[in-house]
Protein backbone atom coordinates (compact mmCIF):
# COMPACT_ATOMS: atom_id res chain seq x y z
CA UNK A 1 0.00 0.00 0.00
CA UNK A 2 1.31 3.40 -0.95
CA UNK A 3 2.08 5.87 1.77
CA UNK A 4 -0.46 8.58 2.03
CA UNK A 5 0.15 12.24 2.31
CA UNK A 6 -0.68 13.78 5.63
CA UNK A 7 -4.39 14.45 5.26
CA UNK A 8 -4.33 18.21 5.46
CA UNK A 9 -7.14 19.67 3.42
CA UNK A 10 -4.84 21.62 1.07
CA UNK A 11 -2.67 18.62 0.30
CA UNK A 12 -5.62 16.39 -0.51
CA UNK A 13 -7.17 19.09 -2.65
CA UNK A 14 -3.96 19.47 -4.64
CA UNK A 15 -3.62 15.71 -4.95
CA UNK A 16 -7.19 15.45 -6.21
CA UNK A 17 -6.44 18.18 -8.77
CA UNK A 18 -3.42 16.21 -9.93
CA UNK A 19 -5.32 12.93 -10.09
CA UNK A 20 -8.12 14.62 -11.99
CA UNK A 21 -5.74 15.99 -14.59
CA UNK A 22 -4.18 12.56 -15.01
CA UNK A 23 -7.37 10.55 -15.08
CA UNK A 24 -10.21 12.72 -16.38
CA UNK A 25 -9.58 12.24 -20.09
CA UNK A 26 -9.42 8.44 -19.76
CA UNK A 27 -12.48 8.51 -17.54
CA UNK A 28 -14.55 10.68 -19.89
CA UNK A 29 -13.39 8.64 -22.88
CA UNK A 30 -14.41 5.32 -21.31
CA UNK A 31 -17.73 6.75 -20.16
CA UNK A 32 -18.45 8.22 -23.61
CA UNK A 33 -18.00 4.78 -25.13
CA UNK A 34 -20.66 3.49 -22.74
CA UNK A 35 -23.22 6.29 -22.73
CA UNK A 36 -22.53 7.46 -26.31
CA UNK A 37 -22.78 11.13 -25.38
CA UNK A 38 -19.73 13.14 -24.46
CA UNK A 39 -21.78 15.70 -22.50
CA UNK A 40 -23.43 13.05 -20.34
CA UNK A 41 -20.07 11.33 -19.90
CA UNK A 42 -18.44 14.52 -18.70
CA UNK A 43 -21.24 15.18 -16.23
CA UNK A 44 -20.81 11.68 -14.83
CA UNK A 45 -17.07 12.18 -14.52
CA UNK A 46 -17.67 15.49 -12.75
CA UNK A 47 -20.04 13.74 -10.33
CA UNK A 48 -17.31 11.25 -9.57
CA UNK A 49 -14.92 14.12 -8.91
CA UNK A 50 -17.41 15.66 -6.49
CA UNK A 51 -17.67 12.32 -4.72
CA UNK A 52 -13.88 12.16 -4.48
CA UNK A 53 -13.73 15.66 -3.06
CA UNK A 54 -16.17 14.56 -0.35
CA UNK A 55 -14.60 11.24 0.47
CA UNK A 56 -10.86 11.47 -0.02
CA UNK A 57 -10.14 14.11 2.59
CA UNK A 58 -11.45 11.58 5.14
CA UNK A 59 -10.26 8.29 3.70
CA UNK A 60 -7.09 9.45 2.00
CA UNK A 61 -6.43 9.10 -1.72
CA UNK A 62 -7.06 5.48 -2.75
CA UNK A 63 -4.25 3.37 -4.19
CA UNK A 64 -5.87 3.28 -7.59
CA UNK A 65 -7.64 6.61 -7.84
CA UNK A 66 -8.50 6.16 -11.53
CA UNK A 67 -10.40 2.96 -10.84
CA UNK A 68 -12.14 4.57 -7.86
CA UNK A 69 -13.35 7.47 -9.99
CA UNK A 70 -14.49 5.11 -12.73
CA UNK A 71 -16.47 2.96 -10.30
CA UNK A 72 -18.07 6.06 -8.76
CA UNK A 73 -19.01 7.42 -12.19
CA UNK A 74 -20.54 4.11 -13.22
CA UNK A 75 -22.58 3.84 -10.04
CA UNK A 76 -23.85 7.32 -10.71
CA UNK A 77 -24.68 6.39 -14.31
CA UNK A 78 -26.70 3.40 -13.20
CA UNK A 79 -28.62 5.51 -10.67
CA UNK A 80 -29.44 8.05 -13.34
CA UNK A 81 -30.50 5.48 -15.86
CA UNK A 82 -32.78 3.84 -13.33
CA UNK A 83 -34.42 7.18 -12.64
CA UNK A 84 -34.90 7.89 -16.29
CA UNK A 85 -35.81 4.37 -17.27
CA UNK A 86 -39.54 4.89 -16.90
CA UNK A 87 -39.52 7.87 -19.18
CA UNK A 88 -37.04 6.94 -21.78
CA UNK A 89 -36.76 3.69 -23.65
CA UNK A 90 -33.31 4.34 -24.93
CA UNK A 91 -32.04 4.55 -21.40
CA UNK A 92 -34.07 1.53 -20.37
CA UNK A 93 -32.24 -0.56 -22.90
CA UNK A 94 -28.96 0.48 -21.44
CA UNK A 95 -29.70 -0.47 -17.85
CA UNK A 96 -29.12 -4.23 -18.11
CA UNK A 97 -25.90 -3.64 -19.96
CA UNK A 98 -24.76 -1.43 -17.14
CA UNK A 99 -25.77 -3.78 -14.38
CA UNK A 100 -24.02 -6.67 -16.05
CA UNK A 101 -20.95 -4.53 -16.31
CA UNK A 102 -21.08 -3.29 -12.79
CA UNK A 103 -20.81 -6.79 -11.37
CA UNK A 104 -17.54 -7.17 -13.13
CA UNK A 105 -16.41 -3.65 -12.43
CA UNK A 106 -14.08 -3.93 -9.53
CA UNK A 107 -11.83 -6.84 -10.48
CA UNK A 108 -11.77 -6.18 -14.19
CA UNK A 109 -11.72 -2.46 -14.16
CA UNK A 110 -8.01 -2.04 -14.56
CA UNK A 111 -7.82 -4.38 -17.48
CA UNK A 112 -10.92 -2.95 -19.10
CA UNK A 113 -9.42 0.49 -18.83
CA UNK A 114 -6.10 -0.67 -20.22
CA UNK A 115 -7.69 -2.48 -23.15
CA UNK A 116 -9.64 0.43 -24.50
CA UNK A 117 -7.76 3.33 -23.14
CA UNK A 118 -5.81 4.27 -26.26
CA UNK A 119 -8.72 3.85 -28.68
CA UNK A 120 -11.14 5.69 -26.44
CA UNK A 121 -8.76 8.59 -25.89
CA UNK A 122 -8.21 8.93 -29.61
CA UNK A 123 -11.95 8.90 -30.24
CA UNK A 124 -12.31 11.60 -27.63
CA UNK A 125 -9.63 13.69 -29.35
CA UNK A 126 -11.50 13.46 -32.63
CA UNK A 127 -14.83 14.36 -31.02
CA UNK A 128 -13.40 17.39 -29.21
CA UNK A 129 -11.82 18.65 -32.44
CA UNK A 130 -14.79 17.83 -34.65
CA UNK A 131 -15.13 20.22 -37.61
CA UNK A 132 -18.80 20.69 -36.80
CA UNK A 133 -17.63 22.90 -33.92
CA UNK A 134 -16.30 26.43 -34.19
CA UNK A 135 -12.57 26.77 -33.68
CA UNK A 136 -12.80 28.37 -30.21
CA UNK A 137 -15.21 25.65 -29.15
CA UNK A 138 -12.77 22.95 -30.27
CA UNK A 139 -9.97 24.59 -28.36
CA UNK A 140 -12.02 24.96 -25.17
CA UNK A 141 -13.42 21.45 -25.38
CA UNK A 142 -10.00 19.92 -26.03
CA UNK A 143 -8.46 21.64 -23.02
CA UNK A 144 -11.43 20.71 -20.90
CA UNK A 145 -11.87 17.07 -21.94
CA UNK A 146 -8.29 16.11 -22.75
CA UNK A 147 -6.20 18.57 -20.79
CA UNK A 148 -8.32 18.28 -17.66
CA UNK A 149 -8.44 22.08 -17.27
CA UNK A 150 -11.31 23.71 -15.45
CA UNK A 151 -13.51 26.27 -17.19
CA UNK A 152 -11.97 28.95 -15.00
CA UNK A 153 -8.45 27.91 -16.00
CA UNK A 154 -9.35 27.96 -19.70
CA UNK A 155 -10.95 31.39 -19.31
CA UNK A 156 -7.88 32.80 -17.55
CA UNK A 157 -5.52 31.29 -20.09
CA UNK A 158 -7.44 32.76 -23.01
CA UNK A 159 -8.21 36.10 -21.37
CA UNK A 160 -11.93 35.39 -21.65
CA UNK A 161 -14.66 35.50 -19.03
CA UNK A 162 -15.64 32.29 -17.30
CA UNK A 163 -19.33 32.44 -18.33
CA UNK A 164 -18.27 32.89 -21.96
CA UNK A 165 -16.07 29.80 -21.88
CA UNK A 166 -18.65 27.81 -19.90
CA UNK A 167 -21.32 28.64 -22.43
CA UNK A 168 -19.00 27.80 -25.30
CA UNK A 169 -18.40 24.36 -23.82
CA UNK A 170 -22.08 23.71 -23.07
CA UNK A 171 -23.04 24.68 -26.60
CA UNK A 172 -20.30 22.55 -28.10
CA UNK A 173 -21.46 19.50 -26.17
CA UNK A 174 -25.04 20.15 -27.21
CA UNK A 175 -24.04 20.49 -30.86
CA UNK A 176 -22.18 17.18 -30.73
CA UNK A 177 -25.12 15.51 -29.04
CA UNK A 178 -27.72 16.89 -31.46
CA UNK A 179 -25.66 15.98 -34.49
CA UNK A 180 -25.19 12.48 -33.03
CA UNK A 181 -21.52 12.64 -33.83
CA UNK A 182 -20.30 9.05 -33.56
CA UNK A 183 -17.63 8.15 -31.03
CA UNK A 184 -15.14 6.75 -33.48
CA UNK A 185 -11.79 7.17 -35.15
CA UNK A 186 -12.30 8.34 -38.75
CA UNK A 187 -10.91 6.02 -41.42
CA UNK A 188 -9.46 6.36 -44.88
CA UNK A 189 -9.53 9.74 -46.57
CA UNK A 190 -11.59 11.30 -43.78
CA UNK A 191 -8.80 10.59 -41.31
CA UNK A 192 -6.43 13.09 -42.90
CA UNK A 193 -8.91 15.96 -42.86
CA UNK A 194 -10.03 15.22 -39.31
CA UNK A 195 -6.46 14.83 -38.12
CA UNK A 196 -5.53 18.21 -39.55
CA UNK A 197 -8.32 19.74 -37.46
CA UNK A 198 -6.83 18.09 -34.36
CA UNK A 199 -3.33 19.35 -35.19
CA UNK A 200 -4.67 22.84 -35.80
CA UNK A 201 -6.33 22.89 -32.38
CA UNK A 202 -3.17 21.75 -30.61
CA UNK A 203 -1.04 24.30 -32.46
CA UNK A 204 -3.55 27.07 -31.65
CA UNK A 205 -3.24 26.19 -27.97
CA UNK A 206 0.54 26.23 -28.25
CA UNK A 207 0.57 29.60 -29.99
CA UNK A 208 -1.76 31.11 -27.44
CA UNK A 209 0.77 30.14 -24.78
CA UNK A 210 3.68 31.31 -26.91
CA UNK A 211 2.06 34.71 -27.34
CA UNK A 212 1.89 35.18 -23.57
CA UNK A 213 4.21 37.75 -22.07
CA UNK A 214 6.14 37.93 -18.83
CA UNK A 215 3.52 39.56 -16.59
CA UNK A 216 0.73 37.23 -17.68
CA UNK A 217 -1.09 34.77 -15.49
CA UNK A 218 1.15 31.67 -15.42
CA UNK A 219 -1.71 29.69 -16.93
CA UNK A 220 -1.08 31.35 -20.26
CA UNK A 221 2.52 30.26 -20.78
CA UNK A 222 1.52 26.89 -19.31
CA UNK A 223 -0.62 26.40 -22.42
CA UNK A 224 2.63 25.67 -24.29
CA UNK A 225 3.27 22.75 -21.97
CA UNK A 226 -0.34 21.61 -22.26
CA UNK A 227 -0.14 21.68 -26.05
CA UNK A 228 3.19 19.87 -26.09
CA UNK A 229 1.79 17.24 -23.84
CA UNK A 230 -1.32 16.80 -26.00
CA UNK A 231 0.94 16.57 -29.04
CA UNK A 232 3.13 13.92 -27.44
CA UNK A 233 0.05 11.96 -26.33
CA UNK A 234 -1.33 12.15 -29.87
CA UNK A 235 2.00 10.96 -31.28
CA UNK A 236 1.64 7.89 -29.07
CA UNK A 237 -1.95 7.31 -30.21
CA UNK A 238 -1.30 7.65 -33.96
CA UNK A 239 2.43 6.87 -34.20
CA UNK A 240 2.37 6.34 -37.97
CA UNK A 241 1.16 9.81 -38.91
CA UNK A 242 4.05 11.92 -40.15
CA UNK A 243 2.47 15.31 -39.50
CA UNK A 244 1.76 14.53 -35.84
CA UNK A 245 5.49 14.08 -35.31
CA UNK A 246 6.07 17.15 -37.47
CA UNK A 247 3.88 19.23 -35.18
CA UNK A 248 5.53 17.81 -32.05
CA UNK A 249 8.94 18.64 -33.56
CA UNK A 250 7.84 22.17 -34.38
CA UNK A 251 6.49 22.76 -30.86
CA UNK A 252 9.51 21.20 -29.11
CA UNK A 253 11.94 23.35 -31.09
CA UNK A 254 9.92 26.53 -30.64
CA UNK A 255 9.52 25.80 -26.93
CA UNK A 256 13.30 25.38 -26.69
CA UNK A 257 13.59 29.15 -27.22
CA UNK A 258 10.98 30.16 -24.67
CA UNK A 259 13.43 31.44 -22.12
CA UNK A 260 15.67 33.18 -24.66
CA UNK A 261 13.06 35.16 -26.47
CA UNK A 262 12.13 37.88 -24.00
CA UNK A 263 14.27 40.49 -22.30
CA UNK A 264 13.73 41.11 -18.58
CA UNK A 265 11.75 44.20 -19.59
CA UNK A 266 9.35 41.94 -21.47
CA UNK A 267 10.54 43.10 -24.87
CA UNK A 268 10.67 40.29 -27.40
CA UNK A 269 14.16 39.33 -28.58
CA UNK A 270 14.30 38.36 -32.23
CA UNK A 271 15.50 34.93 -33.21
CA UNK A 272 18.84 36.05 -34.61
CA UNK A 273 19.54 38.23 -31.57
CA UNK A 274 18.78 35.54 -29.01
CA UNK A 275 21.45 34.14 -26.71
CA UNK A 276 21.65 30.63 -28.10
CA UNK A 277 23.23 29.41 -24.90
CA UNK A 278 19.83 29.79 -23.32
CA UNK A 279 18.08 27.59 -25.83
CA UNK A 280 16.92 24.37 -24.22
CA UNK A 281 19.15 21.66 -25.72
CA UNK A 282 16.97 18.86 -24.36
CA UNK A 283 13.89 20.16 -26.18
CA UNK A 284 15.93 20.76 -29.33
CA UNK A 285 17.17 17.17 -29.21
CA UNK A 286 13.63 15.91 -28.72
CA UNK A 287 12.40 18.13 -31.55
CA UNK A 288 15.09 16.94 -33.94
CA UNK A 289 14.30 13.31 -33.08
CA UNK A 290 10.59 13.90 -33.73
CA UNK A 291 11.50 15.59 -37.01
CA UNK A 292 13.54 12.57 -38.14
CA UNK A 293 10.54 10.36 -37.37
CA UNK A 294 8.21 12.68 -39.33
CA UNK A 295 10.57 12.69 -42.31
CA UNK A 296 10.97 8.91 -42.26
CA UNK A 297 7.22 8.36 -42.16
CA UNK A 298 6.66 10.85 -44.98
CA UNK A 299 9.47 9.23 -46.94
CA UNK A 300 7.87 5.82 -46.71
CA UNK A 301 4.70 7.26 -48.19
CA UNK A 302 5.93 8.99 -51.28
CA UNK A 303 8.07 11.70 -49.75
CA UNK A 304 5.88 14.80 -49.57
CA UNK A 305 6.45 16.63 -46.31
CA UNK A 306 3.44 18.26 -44.66
CA UNK A 307 3.19 21.87 -43.52
CA UNK A 308 4.11 21.20 -39.88
CA UNK A 309 7.06 19.03 -40.84
CA UNK A 310 8.33 21.70 -43.21
CA UNK A 311 7.98 24.42 -40.59
CA UNK A 312 9.74 22.15 -38.11
CA UNK A 313 12.54 21.66 -40.66
CA UNK A 314 12.95 25.42 -40.93
CA UNK A 315 12.96 25.78 -37.15
CA UNK A 316 15.52 22.95 -37.04
CA UNK A 317 17.87 24.86 -39.38
CA UNK A 318 18.02 27.63 -36.80
CA UNK A 319 18.29 25.17 -33.92
CA UNK A 320 21.29 23.45 -35.53
CA UNK A 321 23.18 26.70 -36.13
CA UNK A 322 25.41 27.47 -33.15
CA UNK A 323 25.68 31.10 -34.26
CA UNK A 324 23.42 33.17 -36.55
CA UNK A 325 26.28 33.22 -39.07
CA UNK A 326 26.15 29.43 -39.38
CA UNK A 327 22.51 29.45 -40.46
CA UNK A 328 21.95 27.44 -43.62
CA UNK A 329 19.90 30.06 -45.45
CA UNK A 330 19.88 28.28 -48.79
CA UNK A 331 18.30 25.26 -47.15
CA UNK A 332 15.77 27.52 -45.43
CA UNK A 333 14.98 29.15 -48.77
CA UNK A 334 14.43 25.72 -50.32
CA UNK A 335 12.17 24.70 -47.41
CA UNK A 336 10.09 27.86 -47.81
CA UNK A 337 9.86 27.02 -51.47
CA UNK A 338 8.49 23.58 -50.59
CA UNK A 339 6.18 25.13 -47.99
CA UNK A 340 4.69 27.54 -50.52
CA UNK A 341 3.92 24.54 -52.74
CA UNK A 342 1.80 22.83 -50.07
CA UNK A 343 0.56 26.00 -48.37
CA UNK A 344 0.57 28.83 -50.92
CA UNK A 345 0.52 32.13 -49.03
CA UNK A 346 1.98 35.61 -49.59
CA UNK A 347 3.38 35.54 -46.04
CA UNK A 348 5.28 32.33 -46.77
CA UNK A 349 6.47 33.94 -50.00
CA UNK A 350 7.71 37.01 -48.12
CA UNK A 351 9.62 34.76 -45.73
CA UNK A 352 11.07 32.93 -48.67
CA UNK A 353 12.22 36.28 -50.08
CA UNK A 354 14.07 37.04 -46.86
CA UNK A 355 15.73 33.62 -46.81
CA UNK A 356 16.66 33.93 -50.50
CA UNK A 357 18.18 37.38 -49.82
CA UNK A 358 20.20 35.97 -46.93
CA UNK A 359 21.37 33.03 -49.05
CA UNK A 360 21.86 34.55 -52.51
CA UNK A 361 22.01 38.30 -52.01
CA UNK A 362 19.53 41.18 -51.79
CA UNK A 363 18.67 41.44 -55.49
CA UNK A 364 17.47 37.82 -55.64
CA UNK A 365 15.27 38.51 -52.62
CA UNK A 366 14.00 41.78 -54.02
CA UNK A 367 12.80 40.06 -57.16
CA UNK A 368 10.42 37.94 -55.08
CA UNK A 369 9.32 40.88 -52.93
CA UNK A 370 8.57 42.99 -56.00
CA UNK A 371 6.15 40.33 -57.19
CA UNK A 372 4.30 40.66 -53.89
CA UNK A 373 3.83 44.43 -54.03
CA UNK A 374 0.42 44.26 -55.72
CA UNK A 375 -0.81 41.51 -53.36
CA UNK A 376 -4.11 42.68 -51.85
CA UNK A 377 -3.79 40.65 -48.62
CA UNK A 378 -0.47 42.33 -47.82
CA UNK A 379 -1.72 45.85 -48.53
CA UNK A 380 -1.64 46.88 -44.88
CA UNK A 381 1.09 44.52 -43.76
CA UNK A 382 3.99 46.66 -42.52
CA UNK A 383 6.59 43.93 -42.93
CA UNK A 384 6.29 44.01 -46.71
CA UNK A 385 7.60 47.60 -47.06
CA UNK A 386 9.99 46.92 -44.16
CA UNK A 387 11.61 44.02 -45.98
CA UNK A 388 11.56 45.83 -49.31
CA UNK A 389 13.17 48.89 -47.73
CA UNK A 390 15.84 46.77 -46.13
CA UNK A 391 16.72 45.05 -49.39
CA UNK A 392 16.72 48.35 -51.32
CA UNK A 393 19.03 49.88 -48.72
CA UNK A 394 21.43 46.95 -49.07
CA UNK A 395 21.46 47.54 -52.81
CA UNK A 396 22.29 51.22 -52.30
CA UNK A 397 18.88 52.40 -53.57
CA UNK A 398 18.49 54.69 -50.55
CA UNK A 399 15.80 57.09 -51.80
CA UNK A 400 13.44 54.22 -52.57
CA UNK A 401 14.37 52.54 -49.29
CA UNK A 402 13.49 55.70 -47.39
CA UNK A 403 10.03 55.76 -48.98
CA UNK A 404 9.44 52.15 -48.02
CA UNK A 405 10.46 52.69 -44.39
CA UNK A 406 8.14 55.71 -44.24
CA UNK A 407 5.30 53.58 -45.52
CA UNK A 408 6.06 50.79 -43.09
CA UNK A 409 6.14 53.28 -40.20
CA UNK A 410 2.64 54.40 -41.17
CA UNK A 411 1.37 50.83 -41.09
CA UNK A 412 2.81 49.42 -37.86
CA UNK A 413 0.83 49.69 -34.63
CA UNK A 414 3.86 49.15 -32.44
CA UNK A 415 5.23 52.47 -31.17
CA UNK A 416 8.84 51.27 -30.73
CA UNK A 417 8.84 49.75 -34.16
CA UNK A 418 7.45 52.93 -35.65
CA UNK A 419 10.22 55.03 -34.09
CA UNK A 420 12.84 52.65 -35.39
CA UNK A 421 11.37 52.65 -38.89
CA UNK A 422 11.29 56.44 -39.00
CA UNK A 423 14.94 56.49 -37.93
CA UNK A 424 15.80 54.12 -40.73
CA UNK A 425 13.82 56.25 -43.20
CA UNK A 426 15.75 59.36 -42.13
CA UNK A 427 19.06 57.53 -42.32
CA UNK A 428 18.29 56.26 -45.83
CA UNK A 429 17.22 59.75 -46.90
CA UNK A 430 20.56 61.13 -45.67
CA UNK A 431 22.48 58.60 -47.74
CA UNK A 432 20.48 59.19 -50.91
Amino acid sequence: MADRLPATAGNVQRTIDAVWRMESAKLIAALTRMVRDVGVAEDLAQDALVAALERWPETGVPDNPGAWLMAAAKRRAIDQFRQHALHDRKHQELVPEFEAKQEAIVPELDEALDDHVGDDLLRLVFIACHPILAREARVALTLRLLGGLTTDEIARAFLASEPTVAQRIVRAKRTLSEARVPFEVPRGTELEARLSSVLEVIYLIFNEGYAATAGDDWLRPALCEDALRLGRILAGLVPDESEVHGLVALMEIQASRLRARTAPSGEPILLLDQDRGRWDRLLIRRGLAALVRAEQLAGSRGGTLGTYTLQASIAACHARARTPGETDWSRIAALYDALSQVMPSPIVELNRAVAVAMAFGPSAGLEIVDDLVGEASLKNYHLLPTVRGDLLAKLGRHAEASDEFQRAAGLTRNAREKTMLLERAAEAARKS
Binding site: A2, L5, N11, R14, T15, D17, A18, V19, R21, M22, P65, G118, Y210, A222, E225, L228, R229, L230, G231, R232, I233, G236, Q254, R259, R261, A263, P264, S265, E267, I269, L270, L271, L272, D273, D275, R278, L282, L283, R286, Q311, I314, A315, H318, I332, I347, V348, L350, N351, V354, A355, A357, M358, G365, L383, T386, V387, G389, D390, L391, R424
Partner: protein
Protein backbone atom coordinates in the same frame (compact mmCIF):
# COMPACT_ATOMS: atom_id res chain seq x y z
CA UNK B 1 7.24 22.73 -14.58
CA UNK B 2 9.92 20.11 -14.58
CA UNK B 3 10.93 17.57 -11.99
CA UNK B 4 14.03 15.50 -11.56
CA UNK B 5 12.91 12.14 -10.22
CA UNK B 6 15.79 10.19 -8.73
CA UNK B 7 15.95 6.51 -7.86
CA UNK B 8 18.22 6.14 -4.85
CA UNK B 9 20.95 3.54 -4.80
CA UNK B 10 20.89 0.38 -2.70
CA UNK B 11 23.55 -2.10 -1.62
CA UNK B 12 22.61 -4.24 -4.61
CA UNK B 13 22.71 -1.45 -7.15
CA UNK B 14 26.05 -0.30 -5.74
CA UNK B 15 27.34 -3.86 -6.02
CA UNK B 16 26.45 -3.81 -9.69
CA UNK B 17 23.64 -6.37 -9.37
CA UNK B 18 21.61 -5.98 -12.55
CA UNK B 19 17.82 -5.73 -12.37
CA UNK B 20 15.87 -8.95 -13.00
CA UNK B 21 14.07 -9.51 -16.26
CA UNK B 22 10.72 -9.09 -14.49
CA UNK B 23 11.86 -5.74 -13.11
CA UNK B 24 13.10 -4.58 -16.50
CA UNK B 25 9.83 -5.48 -18.12
CA UNK B 26 7.74 -3.81 -15.39
CA UNK B 27 9.91 -0.70 -15.64
CA UNK B 28 9.67 -0.77 -19.43
CA UNK B 29 5.89 -0.81 -19.20
CA UNK B 30 5.94 2.05 -16.71
CA UNK B 31 8.24 4.12 -18.91
CA UNK B 32 5.89 3.53 -21.80
CA UNK B 33 3.05 4.93 -19.70
CA UNK B 34 5.14 8.01 -18.92
CA UNK B 35 5.86 8.56 -22.59
CA UNK B 36 2.23 8.02 -23.57
CA UNK B 37 1.15 10.57 -21.00
CA UNK B 38 3.58 13.04 -22.57
CA UNK B 39 5.41 13.78 -19.32
CA UNK B 40 8.74 11.99 -19.75
CA UNK B 41 11.47 14.20 -21.20
CA UNK B 42 14.46 12.03 -20.41
CA UNK B 43 15.57 9.19 -18.20
CA UNK B 44 18.71 7.11 -17.59
CA UNK B 45 20.05 4.45 -15.28
CA UNK B 46 23.42 5.07 -13.67
CA UNK B 47 26.36 2.72 -13.13
CA UNK B 48 27.49 2.06 -9.54
CA UNK B 49 29.51 4.80 -7.87
CA UNK B 50 32.58 2.55 -8.03
CA UNK B 51 32.78 3.59 -11.68
CA UNK B 52 32.35 7.25 -10.85
CA UNK B 53 34.42 9.98 -9.29
CA UNK B 54 34.01 13.19 -7.35
CA UNK B 55 35.84 16.44 -7.65
CA UNK B 56 36.07 18.32 -4.35
CA UNK B 57 36.46 22.08 -4.37
CA UNK B 58 38.09 24.05 -1.62
CA UNK B 59 38.63 27.66 -2.56
CA UNK B 60 40.48 27.34 -5.83
CA UNK B 61 41.91 23.89 -5.04
CA UNK B 62 40.45 20.78 -6.65
CA UNK B 63 40.85 17.20 -5.39
CA UNK B 64 39.68 14.17 -7.32
CA UNK B 65 38.19 11.33 -5.26
CA UNK B 66 37.48 8.05 -7.00
CA UNK B 67 34.37 5.98 -6.21
CA UNK B 68 32.88 3.95 -4.66
CA UNK B 69 31.23 6.21 -2.11
CA UNK B 70 29.95 4.97 1.18
CA UNK B 71 26.69 6.82 1.90
CA UNK B 72 24.73 4.38 -0.32
CA UNK B 73 21.26 5.76 0.44
CA UNK B 74 22.26 9.23 -0.67
CA UNK B 75 23.59 8.07 -4.01
CA UNK B 76 21.56 8.17 -7.19
CA UNK B 77 21.09 5.01 -9.24
CA UNK B 78 18.93 6.45 -11.99
CA UNK B 79 16.84 9.45 -12.88
CA UNK B 80 14.04 10.82 -15.00
CA UNK B 81 13.26 14.33 -16.10
CA UNK B 82 9.50 14.89 -16.18
CA UNK B 83 7.23 17.69 -17.22
CA UNK B 84 4.31 17.81 -14.80
CA UNK B 85 1.76 20.40 -13.86
CA UNK B 86 2.43 20.17 -10.13
CA UNK B 87 4.52 18.40 -7.52
CA UNK B 88 1.40 16.45 -6.59
CA UNK B 89 1.18 15.11 -10.12
CA UNK B 90 4.81 14.01 -9.97
CA UNK B 91 4.08 12.28 -6.65
CA UNK B 92 1.07 10.48 -8.12
CA UNK B 93 3.20 9.24 -11.00
CA UNK B 94 5.96 8.07 -8.69
CA UNK B 95 3.43 6.14 -6.61
CA UNK B 96 2.59 4.18 -9.75
CA UNK B 97 6.22 3.22 -10.38
CA UNK B 98 7.11 -0.41 -9.75
CA UNK B 99 9.50 -0.74 -6.81
CA UNK B 100 12.76 -0.17 -8.70
CA UNK B 101 14.84 -2.36 -6.37
CA UNK B 102 14.38 -5.70 -4.69
CA UNK B 103 13.33 -4.88 -1.10
CA UNK B 104 13.50 -1.37 0.30
CA UNK B 105 14.05 1.58 -1.98
CA UNK B 106 13.38 5.26 -2.30
CA UNK B 107 12.58 7.73 -5.07
CA UNK B 108 13.21 11.42 -4.58
CA UNK B 109 11.36 14.19 -6.39
CA UNK B 110 13.00 17.57 -6.92
CA UNK B 111 11.64 20.52 -8.83
CA UNK B 112 13.92 21.95 -11.50
CA UNK B 113 14.66 25.68 -11.40
CA UNK B 114 13.14 27.56 -14.29
CA UNK B 115 14.82 30.69 -15.63
CA UNK B 116 12.13 32.84 -13.95
CA UNK B 117 13.13 31.47 -10.55
CA UNK B 118 16.44 33.28 -10.83
CA UNK B 119 14.82 36.63 -11.40
CA UNK B 120 16.67 39.56 -12.90
CA UNK B 121 20.12 38.34 -11.86
CA UNK B 122 19.97 35.55 -14.38
CA UNK B 123 19.00 37.74 -17.27
CA UNK B 124 21.17 40.86 -17.26
CA UNK B 125 19.54 43.72 -19.07
CA UNK B 126 20.01 43.21 -22.76
CA UNK B 127 20.39 46.30 -24.81
CA UNK B 128 18.28 46.39 -27.86
CA UNK B 129 20.70 45.82 -30.64
CA UNK B 130 20.83 47.10 -34.12
CA UNK B 131 18.84 44.59 -36.01
CA UNK B 132 18.42 43.57 -39.56
CA UNK B 133 14.82 44.20 -40.35
CA UNK B 134 14.80 41.51 -42.93
CA UNK B 135 15.76 39.01 -40.31
CA UNK B 136 12.86 40.08 -38.18
CA UNK B 137 10.34 38.64 -40.51
CA UNK B 138 12.26 35.41 -40.85
CA UNK B 139 12.23 35.24 -37.07
CA UNK B 140 8.55 36.06 -36.90
CA UNK B 141 7.70 33.16 -39.09
CA UNK B 142 9.36 30.84 -36.61
CA UNK B 143 7.69 32.28 -33.54
Amino acid sequence: MRFMVMVKATKDSEAGVLPSEAMLSAMGKYNEELVKAGIMLAGEGLQPSSKGARVRFSGDKRTVVDGPFSETKELVAGFWLWQCRSKEEAIEWVKRCPNPMPGESEIEIRQVFEAEDFGEEFTPELRERERLLGEQIAANAKR
